[in-house]
Symmetry: D2
Subunit: 438 residues, 4 copies
């Protein structure tokens, strides 16, 4: 009696080998080999539980865990040879284990299925990914906080409709992003909390008749508890959809900031100059200093949101429990993680190294009649004019100022009085911008 | 001094009237009139705060709040006339207020902008929507729980790849959806918790020089606290994206259940019969009993996920703070709420009234060699054969049974012994399905 | 023998009435009443064919077509009462017909099903919609052409990465959009050509045993020919997906132009001033002139692309032939048509009425070292320096000019010669911008 | 004078090197090296044109084209070393050319920019991709045609709402997919026709002052003509959006067929048995024969549609002309091409090797009262009963048959006459299914 050849692991009753096309469409090893560490971690916990439950002997368990440790070392040192014909990371590792320790390797898969195995691997990976993203957001927030503090008094125009609206400070502006990112962190933390359950032991879909201890493996792997329902354990992908949703919302925030960095570093705005470390030149226009990193952060919103759409589309209307379609869950999740991490780092770098042109910002804050609201407020406060009428009067004064190409604080008092005779000199205190307007 | 005409609220300095196309593309009243209750609620709280801060007199405040109450009554009784030329719900109400109480109406908009006003309206609405969805999910869960209990012993085939895999119970199957929905509720609750802050007082983007009390309006409106950053308050839409994401994940769950109801009610499966109340007939094929409600639940996943895509697309790369693009946030959110609520109710109705064909379910649970796993487990447990080899032997026995068109528990012992001589009679206890296999 | 009550059209064998939820989720009349004209047009053609084939008598046909004409008149004059309990436009019209002309109305549905009926209505509608969009694009193109001609010599900076790259003309810039729109028209025309086939006569999915003439109805309705395969005729929605795709690509083009109009009308760019007819003011900032129409065109890309996502999601993995999910095809298509038409009209209006600030454009075209490429080209042409080295030398000269805050054509010859001694006076002819640079 | 180091190609005026994050986010070589053949093809054509226009000497041109040929050989033999620090395929090749042939390599980039270079590469690649997909669809069609012919008389149930509706043939059913695919081919062909223009010579965005011949390079590269507008030439991505849209519609068709293959190969339907070459087994359930290939085809709709959403999102609201975001166009296009090609091949294989169970199909075609429509038609034809009433009577007969658990053709005549006394024996000819019902 010999261990069957690895490529026959499921092939016992098949009379024909899979076609090349089938091998190609079916193989996932190029993608899921990234889970090698989690796969081995899960197998070790499973093996230790089998020993604890006396399903395996201590000796068998010892051989298996030592074999797995050796395989981990092989992979991390780059010596391990991944084989496409072994389909996925699970079979690549199990097959190598069989080579190393012989038939006893075949006992590892007792009371387990690839369905709960891959579900466990993926949850372990996602937990790490979530923690890493939360950490990286905190780094970006600390840089935003630093710049926000440094520019607490730096006056700049606040925009609505990309038209100058009212003076604000750069500190206030950057702090808005700090707060958006705080909510992004909250979403990732909520996702982590909700998905922190162990699917191991659900087997294919219905648990097992072996006397396993799911609480024990959950504990060994750092999960809060086992997933209650075994069918849910292998069929659920909502935790990945939630991960992709939170990532999509986060990249929307980064895309908004990127857009502003691009605008602000145009010749026309001239509010900032991005550091050389995060810009590139042109092959034909030597003077160009292109905000490539910001453009790529903005553009990578496409891939991240496309990945969310991908998995939503994949999962739509799939009956329980596992369907092979779900194999398509890994690429979007891995790609999103990589892209979002990189975008967070690039944004951190850009904000950290940008040079702010305070003069240009202040100058623009004064243009565009940005203090018109203050004028209206003055009319309300001092002349007790209802706001709607004060607003109307202000509109007429602005129009008059525009015709004379004057800023509001340069308008002669007499000109203003044409629209409301009670206006007096006190109004000029309201029409000039100071550092702490907002 | 007269109140300016409503359609000149912002038109003070414009020399030309908007084109018809502009009126048409710009108007939002058809959509945002749904916010009338929240708009009045927000205005009342704002007015009371203005009085408390002595920005308005008690008498002015009284006139305004009474006027607003009268308008609310008009709208709810269907007497209010909404006007497209007044653009949106805010101006429709304010204009009517001016008709009712005269110039003092113009004082309500003191220390407020349409930017923070609409942000407040929308948050108030979303809070109610989230609560209603959580409630509706609970109703569906209670029905799933009821059926799950009633069918705790109803054996049915468990599927992977839509192939019969192992016997499960209908109770276990329905409970899996109960658990998915529990996580959906968690996502809505997290969203509600995170967005429960008041944007009122942020004004256009930079707050106001009037001495307002944002804590007071937040408290009056039932918010936990004011949104800290005024620019964030008017620019943020992540709470709506989170609402749409959570809804998308929830409808994915409902689409999976709907798919199963459709499959199960085919002639071929015959597992269930949906109630007449949730099916329709055909205009040409009188015998048809179509699972329309289930198909519509499945199909409405498209609209709900399309709405998520819509708002992500709208928000991508928008600079701070308010941009008119954001007006496009309401339709997708309202549509998603209506569709999801209806889908939850329809699913509740279908699950509640479906008739289960236990015999068909049990029959199928026995076909497809669904107990093969148990055979493999028996080999492991009783003969100490490593799982991988037990699996291989089982595959050969299944192939032999299939050739003879026999179910596993009908295979002669001798036939099984051809593949593993130590197999004995005890194996038959494992090959038959009982009510509590899983 | 009496005509059955309308709400029993398919209910012959049902023992229970549909629940309220079912009525609500199932009804489509609010959406598909928009198809009334096409529905009647299709019914008239069908009826005439039935007469021609002697399935109906001439007298019966006459009664039916006159009845349909009367119903059309009722609908267009607003007298027709649409009823939700009659579900859809087909049953609303058929029921009214029965009221008008009695039992003979029941003969109209001979050799027809709602499946081929709605497919015919929708194709007729889509043909008109495609033609209308093509027409509207041509209108926008004519305005782009006019402005392009008027500004053939208007120098402006050409951008890459939103950095000033090289001088171009506004004419060239606007012509780029003309050409994009030309391809958009091509896509709509291709779609129209491909879908111009009649599904009528496919009945539910399998044709009919009645001796109908599908070529005749196709001809009467202006289709090129019948859809060949009857199952395809009722199951296909690719023509709507193609419509939504072409619309999505078109709105992407409009969103790019809208973004530029928004940028160009900022205080910082100041390249254009949008007409009052297509801008709005602010309720609190009287000086604002907001490019609302452009922002809404940009924002409506979300809805249009969301609609594409919706129908792709709906159609994914639907088995043949008709499934109720497909009822969800109409809302996205109608919404997309309305939104795209409006966006085309608004863009036409904005381009037509914008005021161009030639001075600001020309001034910016000279800044940012936009002629650096010409300098490099001069080195290649006159000194036979390989382009890559010419590029490197140019980069050094630009850096030197920037340090001195000089434009390139103001750099002293001696300074340039420090980097390449053979540079001579001739270079200055290359460094100034003229109207016909590009 | 020496050629500058490759990594300084655009870095002439930069005082700081890019950060590691910048290198990582900016590099595209891992993706765009796939364009090596097109890049060299484009460079050869460009070089030959420069010689023809006497911008390069024949000798220079000869050195360059020989060098490029040598590089092509290096890449195809796997000897070429791609370097991340050289960013992209263009610079990798140009840098190697400089190593091989010295300074003259720097002359190749005369009158060219990376913007028009990459646009040319991508269009050349896309043309090949479109042609390959059209070819692969034809292969699938030929297999559908073969099976369709073989099963022209194989009766099966036609479904609406996944309920048995009327008998059809498998031939008709498969032919419906043939016709859908014919339209898919049309969409790819239209896309190819529309985008078959050469961007080469547009340079960065504004053409060049060198005396180039764009018609000549267009002709050499097999394009119909140059892209007219130089800004459009480098800014347009609609041809890729059209490619992704057509691919999305095509995969929707394949997902529908895949869904049917999965359904049909369930134990419950049992209509077909997929070949061993396109199915897999289970690691724990040895009897399973999983339709993995079909599930993956269905699931890959997610990735393909996600890619469309990605590029739509990327392109939304990008101002002219080139923005770095657009670098994100290649991954979705390459991935979609690979996935769609594989799905077409897998579908071809599955359809070609599936085994049809004619008996099960025929049996089901007779169940579910699938001939009820014929009964209604008989009443119309023979008794001149209006269709709507015939339909109602039929519904009552079906309900009666169902209560007795009889098929329609087994219902006693007397039972039918209870609902319509004029029914006679002739009706039974209508109630049995023959091979050519449809």
């Amino acid at each position: 009696m010999t261990t069957p050849k690895p490529n026959q692991m499921w092939g016992g009753r098949f009379s024909e080998a899979p076609s090349d096309i089938m091998v190609q469409i079916n193989a996932s090893i190029d993608v899921d080999k990234r889970l090698y560490r989690q796969d081995i971690q899960g197998s070790v916990a499973h093996c230790e539980m089998l020993v604890a439950q006396e399903i395996l002997t201590a000796d068998e368990g010892d051989k298996i865990t030592k074999g797995l440790a050796a395989i981990l070392a092989e992979i991390e040192s780059g010596k391990f040879v991944f084989k496409t014909e072994l389909e996925d990371i699970h079979m690549n590792i199990e097959s190598r284990l069989a080579e190393m320790i012989g038939d006893v390797a075949g006992k590892l898969h007792t009371a387990r299925s690839r369905n709960d195995q891959v579900a466990t691997d993926m949850r372990l990976w996602t937990k790490q990914a979530l923690a890493a993203l939360i950490e990286e957001i905190s780094v970006l927030q600390s840089i935003l906080d630093k710049q926000s503090g440094a520019h607490a008094e730096t006056v700049m125009p606040g925009f609505t409709h990309l038209q100058i609206a009212q003076p604000v400070t750069l500190g206030l502006h950057l702090q808005a992003y700090f707060d958006m990112l705080e909510r992004d962190k909250g979403r990732f933390a909520d996702c982590l909390d909700r998905m922190n359950e162990s699917p191991l032991g659900a087997c294919a879909l219905a648990g097992t008749r072996h006397n396993i201890d799911r609480d024990l493996t959950a504990e060994k792997l750092g999960f809060r508890r086992p997933v209650r329902n075994t069918m849910d354990a292998v069929a659920a992908r909502d935790y990945l959809l939630e991960f992709l949703s939170a990532s999509s919302i986060c990249i929307i925030h980064l895309s908004r900031l990127a857009e502003e960095l691009i605008l602000w570093s145009t010749v026309q705005f001239g509010f900032i100059r991005l550091g050389d470390k995060f810009t590139t030149g042109s092959s034909i226009m030597p003077q160009k200093k292109n905000p490539d990193a910001a453009e790529l952060v903005r553009g990578k919103s496409g891939g991240i949101i496309g990945n969310l759409m991908q998995l939503l589309m994949v999962m739509k209307a799939l009956p329980l429990t596992y369907n092979k379609d779900m194999q398509e869950d890994k690429t979007p999740v891995f790609e999103t993680y990589d892209a979002l991490l990189l975008c967070l780092q690039a944004t951190t770098g850009m904000i950290d190294t940008m040079h702010v042109n305070k003069e240009r910002m202040h100058e623009d804050a004064e243009s565009g009649y940005s203090t018109a609201t203050y004028l209206a407020d003055w009319l309300v406060k001092n002349l007790n004019i209802p706001f709607r009428q004060a607003h109307h009067i202000t509109g007429q004064i602005v129009q008059a100022a525009e015709k004379k190409s004057l800023k509001l604080h340069d308008m002669p008092l007499a000109d203003m009085q044409q629209f409301e005779s009670r206006i007096n000199k006190g109004i000029f205190d309201f029409l000039r911008i100071t550092g702490n307007n907002s």
